[in-house]
């Protein structure tokens, strides 16, 4: 699949290091090498390649992040039901163990690759790259990557996706964005999920949750949804279709996109 397989971070890093690298001797004869390189540049380099693959195959890649149990798989099931006649969908599922989520997706007639991370708390670009060897990107328009359920670690690793979506279920509390700012700041769309439960939860105010998101300087849409009742799914689906159109326009212009909030290191390795 990958004509650049085997490329290593050494070559990718080298010109950067040489460009900005200053070498100087300290008083005691040691050599201090100035580097100024993103700590995750090896991951980011691979993520750049993944993004290039997605772009070459005209695929839009969406990374879904949230706590465990906030409804990522359920959202995907409803999304597949709504869009599978119009778009060809593929899913990469990340969990510590089991094929359960991939099986739920396959039951909808969509191809799914399950990554089991063992103990790792997040997906990284190399895991996605390996999973892509099991997928035919030419037969997919949208690839959803369901990250490991975790509101902390996934935010730090670029996978090569074009957009991030962060979910917050109403049972988690409306102050979650204030408690976990890094992952909500990374969102290109925040979905408040399980809105059907608001009837029995009198202590979750969607406006407060949105306000907490805005305090992170996030302009992304915040949508109140329920995959169960269907409430608000039109907002999510029309955003998604807009993203597919934008990706198609970008590809015709030879451009690509990273999530809106991407650390400097991720932007360094954006291809195309």
């Amino acid at each position: 699949m990958c004509d650049t397989c085997g490329c290593n971070v050494t070559q990718g890093n080298q010109h950067l290091i040489q460009e900005g690298g200053k070498h100087e001797h300290t008083h005691d004869g040691k050599v201090a090498v100035e580097v100024l390189l993103n700590l995750l540049s090896e991951n980011d380099h691979q993520a750049g390649h993944n993004r290039e693959h997605f772009d070459n195959h005209q695929v839009l890649a969406i990374n879904l992040m949230s706590s465990p149990g906030s409804g990522k798989t359920r959202l995907l099931e409803s999304t597949i039901d709504a869009l599978k006649e119009k778009y060809r969908i593929g899913v990469i599922e990340g969990d510590l163990e089991t094929e359960n989520d991939a099986e739920r997706i396959r039951a909808k007639g969509v191809s799914a690759v399950q990554i089991t991370t063992g103990t790792a708390c997040h997906l990284d670009a190399h895991m996605i790259h390996d999973a892509l060897h099991q997928m035919d990107l030419d037969s997919i328009d949208i690839l959803f990557i369901e990250n490991v359920g975790n509101l902390v670690c996934p935010a730090s690793f670029d996978l090569g996706q074009h957009r991030n979506v962060t979910l917050l279920s109403v049972t988690e509390g409306d102050d979650k964005p204030s408690k976990y700012p890094v992952i909500f700041r990374a969102a290109d769309h925040v979905l408040i999920t399980k809105s059907d439960l608001l009837a029995v939860l009198d202590d979750f105010e969607p406006e407060k949750a949105e306000s907490a998101v805005r305090q992170l300087a996030v302009e992304a849409p915040v949508s109140l949804t329920s995959a169960k009742s269907g409430e608000g799914l039109d907002l999510w689906l029309s955003w998604l279709e807009g993203q597919i159109d934008e990706q198609s326009i970008r590809r015709s212009e030879g451009k690509t996109a990273t999530p809106k909030i991407a650390p400097e290191g991720q932007q360094l390795y954006t291809h195309g």
Binding site: T26, L36, L39, A120, C153, S178, P181, I183, A217
Partner: protein, 124 residues
């Protein structure tokens, strides 16, 4: 606890730099971490004590420089020092701001002893 992954990635970079610089050993690694990078400096230090074993940085010290969070307002242009969960402009209150410091996750510098330095200083 993704700090171990971050630490291993850091050591891969450090070993590559050490190889290129013909280093005998690495004595000091300086990283710059912003509160919005999603990496906890203390946990990175703990991971480092485990991950450095058997590497060229086995005896190295890890220094983490924490950066303040600073935003620039897209509306009024003011710059403010802010908290991780309140990135609003302190001057006009607008939420349309850009983080100009505080989301770094950088390997800043590596201090090492060169093999060639030893040879150079060895008496003939």
């Amino acid at each position: 606890m993704h700090e171990l992954s971050v630490c291993q990635a850091m050591l891969t970079q450090v070993e590559e730099i050490a190889r290129r610089e013909n280093a005998r050993d690495v004595t000091r690694i300086v990283v710059r971490i912003g509160p919005l990078a999603g990496v906890v400096p203390d946990l990175l230090q703990q991971a480092f004590t485990v991950a450095r074993a058997g590497t060229i940085a086995a005896e190295a010290e890890l220094v983490t420089e924490e950066q303040p969070i600073r935003v620039s307002c897209l509306s009024c242009g003011a710059e403010s020092d802010v908290l991780p969960n309140r990135l609003l402009c302190k001057s006009c209150g607008d939420y349309r701001t850009r983080v100009i410091s505080g989301d770094e996750l950088l390997l800043a510098s590596v201090e090492l002893n060169r093999l060639s330095d030893e040879r150079l200083h060895r008496p003939a």
